[in-house]
Symmetry: C2
Subunit: 259 residues, 2 copies
Amino acid sequence: MAYLNEIGIVGSGNVAFHLIKAIQDSSTLHLKGLYTRNKKVGNELQEQFSVTFYTDLNELACNSKLIIIAVADDAIETIAQQINATNQHLIVHTSGSVPISVLKKSALFYGSFYPLQTFTKEREADFNQIPILIHANDENKKEVLIQIANELSSIVREINDEERKKLHLAAVMVNNFTNHIYTLANSFTDKSIVDFELLKPLIQETALKIKTVRPDECQTGPAKRNDQGTIQEHLAMLTNEELKELYLWFTDSIRKYYE
Amino acid sequence: MAYLNEIGIVGSGNVAFHLIKAIQDSSTLHLKGLYTRNKKVGNELQEQFSVTFYTDLNELACNSKLIIIAVADDAIETIAQQINATNQHLIVHTSGSVPISVLKKSALFYGSFYPLQTFTKEREADFNQIPILIHANDENKKEVLIQIANELSSIVREINDEERKKLHLAAVMVNNFTNHIYTLANSFTDKSIVDFELLKPLIQETALKIKTVRPDECQTGPAKRNDQGTIQEHLAMLTNEELKELYLWFTDSIRKYYE
């Protein structure tokens, strides 16, 4: 049971924050401590979650058996190589797009522990509903990670580097691109002096709908109907070239998809 | 109080369905009946909601004072002109993009009653949270419509043709375009043999987040960070030209927005 009881977290960003919180809320998992270069945030997390903040990475490593590296993608390899790991250590990262092999030089056992969600400190994360995607270079250690993930979430899957990378790409589409559509629509409503608030129930319902209906089965609107009257009126209202491009691209893509 | 008690609905699509349901659920509004050319659906609605189904449009008109036309945009004017309206009648449509003037030849009093939401028969609509946008050619009648809308929803606004059209365009972006991103991501995950289900919690959270945070304040991802390593890896995974275009367009637009 050592891995479950001796978890160390490296990092202090949004993923680290919510992982610390979820582990501290769990009755079966135990956090040994946290390491981050950001002393101010380290001290804040120590206070907020009663977790030991180590200012020395290898002090954290000495006290932990599972080390979860929750830092920016391009910092994972470097920080992992600073850990003096023993053959007992299991080191994982939380990235969607980095292969686990970047941890090869740092430990005998390594893997990934990827929570597929967008985290912000201001919003509660219901970890139980967040898919945790597991991969490891060793079967036994993979089972350990799955066991730990099961303590945090009801959606746990084993997924290799390639599949995780593909899911991460799809996540960029449904999260980053969708959010950018909200941003562009918000710019348009602000400029048109109509209230973006009025669109929020629609935005919620658009996302909720696909819980039970395939997205291509609930598509509606002028592009799907190829309603040229409305399409031309909309284009005439769009004075911003970028929005016009967006409108034309989606109208064309939707029309082609359904014809 | 006659308008509140003598409502007739024309149409049998998703908007008509949910309006009938909401009015029948209300204790203060009363539905006199329904007209639709689709006899099968008319009979079904009569049975399901205990509403009188008229097969003759002018029989419905004789028994109603407020006639709500909830049909496809391009059918509104034609059907309205088939109504032998008196000077007591108030005729409104439920369209986001059609000006109220298409009803000018059909009645002395006319307007719009636009519920800004995407409706499907399979999903419950919480009308209380759906913005209803009101416009009319007469001040007193506008007040009547606002009073009726207030019985159905807690979000009621007066909005003219131009503003309604702009909101409808923004609605097309956040609903149709967003839903098409879900569709394209779903095609990609299906083709990659990874499970689209795993993205659903992320899709929900992306929409929920903007209830409290401005969308441009919660943007994350490789495009915003201008993380060229991840961007190039993603592009290499996209063999479909359309998805590649989508990815490049959003990556460029996000980068420009935040630089």
